[in-house]
C-alpha cells in the first residue's frame, strides 16, 4: 500500500517535473533595456511595436507577420503600411492596444509613462522596453527581440551582417583629421546638430571622421557662428526634401557667408537618408555605407582637380 503510494507520488513528481521542463523549454525570459525581466510562456506570435526602429528589427529577423499593431511613426518597410496603427507617445491609447490582443508590446522608455506600462501588464500584456543610444545598444535590442520571438539565429545573422559592414568600412578608412558637421535642423528653423553620444557621431568615427561638435552632448541647438568658425570638411544634412524649392544641399550652399566653408567650396555636402541614420535599427549599416561612399566619392573627384 505504502509502496504503491510512494510510486504514485514519484510518478506524479516525474510528470510534474517533465511538464515543468517542457514549459521551461518553450518559455523565454529576457532582460529588457530598463533591466526589467520579461518572461513569456512561449515566443511571441502577436506583437504591437511602437517605435520605427524596433519594427525594422522585427522585419529584418523575419517576424513581419507577427506584428498586429504599429505606432503612428512606424513606416518602414513599405509593406508594413497594411498593419493597423495605434497612437504612440503621450497619446498612447491603452484600449486601442488591448483590442489588438498582443502578447508583447515593444516600446521606448521616453515616450510612454510608467502608468501606461503598469496598465498594460495588469491586463496580461508584457511590455519590453528597447532604447538603444549606441550601436552596441542596437545589437542588444536585436538580440532581445530575437529571443522574444524565438529567432535568435536570425538576430545573430543580422548583427553579424552589420558588424561585418562596419568592420569593413573601418578597415578601409583612415582618420586623417577631417571633420564632419551633421545638420539635424536647417538654419530657418534654428540649427541643430548631433553631438557626442548619437548614432551620427558613432558613424563618423567608423568612417574615420571627427564630429565637428563632439563637445556637445546629444542633439543640440547650436549657433551659426560656431559652424562657420569650426569650418567642417564635410556637411551631412538630414533635412528631407519634398520636391519643391531648393534642395537641402542647395539651401546650405546659398546661405550668406557659408560659401567660404571648406565643405561648401569642395561640394562636400550630403543629404543623407534621415531615418536610416537616426533610427537605432539595422539600417544604420546602410547609413554607414552611404556616408562612406560619399566621403570616397568626394575624394575621387578631388584627385584630378589637385
Amino acid at each position: 500500500m505504502s509502496k504503491k503510494l510512494v510510486s504514485l507520488f514519484l510518478a506524479v513528481l516525474m510528470v510534474c517535473s517533465m511538464a515543468a521542463s517542457l514549459a521551461e523549454g518553450s518559455s523565454v525570459t529576457v532582460t529588457d533595456m530598463l533591466g526589467r525581466e520579461v518572461t513569456l510562456t512561449e515566443p511571441a506570435t502577436r506583437i504591437v511595436v511602437m517605435q520605427p526602429s524596433d519594427c525594422e528589427i522585427l522585419c529584418a529577423i523575419g517576424c513581419e507577420d507577427t506584428i498586429v499593431g504599429r505606432g503612428q511613426y512606424v513606416d518602414y518597410p513599405a509593406s508594413i503600411q497594411n498593419v493597423p496603427v495605434v497612437q504612440s507617445g503621450a497619446e498612447t491609447n491603452i484600449e486601442e492596444i488591448l483590442a489588438l490582443n498582443p502578447q508583447v508590446v515593444l516600446m521606448n522608455d521616453m515616450s510612454q509613462t510608467e502608468e501606461q506600462v503598469k496598465q498594460l501588464e495588469a491586463n496580461g500584456v508584457k511590455v519590453a522596453v528597447s532604447q538603444a543610444s549606441n550601436i552596441e545598444g542596437v545589437y542588444y535590442s536585436i538580440r532581445m527581440i530575437g529571443k522574444l520571438m524565438g529567432k535568435e539565429d536570425n538576430a545573430e545573422a543580422v548583427i553579424a551582417d552589420m558588424q561585418a559592414a562596419f568592420d569593413e568600412i573601418r578597415a578601409n578608412s583612415k582618420n586623417e583629421g577631417k571633420s564632419v558637421y551633421f545638420e539635424v535642423s536647417p538654419l530657418q528653423y534654428g540649427l541643430w546638430t548631433a553631438g557626442k553620444g548619437t548614432f551620427m557621431d558613432e558613424l563618423a568615427e567608423i568612417c574615420g571622421l571627427t564630429n565637428a561638435f563632439a563637445d556637445v552632448e546629444g542633439w543640440a541647438a547650436i549657433s551659426e557662428e560656431q559652424v562657420l568658425a569650426r569650418d567642417p570638411d564635410y556637411i551631412v544634412t538630414i533635412t528631407m526634401y519634398y520636391g519643391e524649392g531648393p534642395t537641402p544641399v542647395e539651401e546650405i550652399i546659398s546661405r550668406e557667408g557659408w560659401g567660404d566653408l571648406k565643405a561648401v567650396k569642395n561640394g562636400a555636402i550630403l543629404n543623407a537618408e534621415s531615418n536610416a541614420i537616426s533610427r537605432p535599427g539595422p539600417r544604420l549599416k546602410d547609413a554607414a555605407i552611404e556616408l562612406y561612399n560619399f566621403i570616397h566619392g568626394i575624394k575621387a573627384e578631388e584627385v584630378p582637380a589637385a
Binding site: L187, Y189, L191, V216, A220, I222, S223, E225, E256
Partner: protein, 347 residues
Amino acid sequence: MQDSRQLKRERFSPVTYCLLGAALFLTMVLCICVGSVRITFSDTVTAVWNAVWGLPIPENIAKNIILNVRLPRVLCVVLAGAALSICGAAMQGLLRNPLADGSTMGVSSGAALGAVIAMATGFTLPGTSYGGIMVTAMAFAFGSLVLILSLAYMLDRSLSTSSIILIGVIFTMFISSIISLVITFSSDHTRSLNFWTLGSFSGVNYSQVKLLGLALLVCGGVLYRFSPELNAFAIGEDNARHIGVNVKRVKLVILITVSVLIGVCVSISGTISFVGLVMPHIARMLVGPNHRRLLPASLFSGAIFLLLADLTARTILSPIELSIGVVTSIVGAVAFVVIFCKTRKAG
C-alpha cells in the same frame, strides 16, 4: 509762454535723445563684439568699418561671422525689441490697460497662426519670397485684435482690464493648439512649434532687417504722431471724445498700426513675450506717463533689453543656443518685480 515751456518739457530734449542713442549704440557694439565665437575687437571693428565705407574687407573668419551672422542678427534684434516695446506702450495707453501687450492679448499668436498657415499652404505674393507670410501674419494679427476687442466689448462694455486679458489668454491658448494642429498636418513645410511659441533670431538676413526697419519707421512714426491722442485715451475714452478726438478713427488707425508692426515682427522672429509688456512699464516708471516721452523711452529700452537677452541666449551655453523667449521671460519677470517693488517703496 507758459504753454510753450510746458510743451518743451513734455518732449525729450535732444540731449536726452543723444544719451539714449549712445546707450543703445554701446549695447549694440557690445553685442556685435561678444558672441559664441571669440573674435578680436580690432578684427570686428575693421570688418564693420570697411563694410560700411565699402572698403575691401580682409579675408578672415571675422568677416563671415560678423557681417553675415552677427550684424544682421543684432540689427534685427534692435528693431524687433523697439517695435514690440512701442506696440506694448501704445496698446497699454489706448486700452488704459496695464497688462495689454501683443503676447497677452493674443495678437502675437494670431500673427503666428497666420504665418504658419501661409507656410503650410505655400501662399506667396508674386515676386517676393517672404511677402505672403508677412501679409497673412499682419492680417491675422489685426483679425485677432478686432475679434478679442469685440468679444470683450460684448461681454463687458467698459472694456475692463480683466475681461480683455481673460479673453486674450483663452484666445492665445486656443490659437496655439490650432498652430500645433496645422504643424502636425504639414510638418514638412513649417517651422517647429518651438519657434512660434518661444521665438528665435537665428538665421535672419539683411532683407529682413530692411523690412523690419521700414515697418518700424512708418508704424513708429504713426504711433508717435498720435501721442497726444494716446495721452487723452490714457485718461479715458470719454475724456478723449470730449476734447475732440475722433475716437473711432484714431482707435482703428492705432490698432492697424500695432497689428502691422507685430505681424512683421512675428513673421521674422516668432512670438517673443514680455518685451512689449514689461519694457513700457519700466519706461513709465522712469519717464512718466506722457506718451511723447513714453513711446521713445519704450523704444530704446525695448531695443536694449532684447539685445541683452539675445546676447545671453547666444552665449551663455555656447556652443549651444537658447531660445530667446526663455531669456526674456525669466529676466523680464524678475526685472519687473524688482522695479515694481522699488517704485512702490519710493512712492
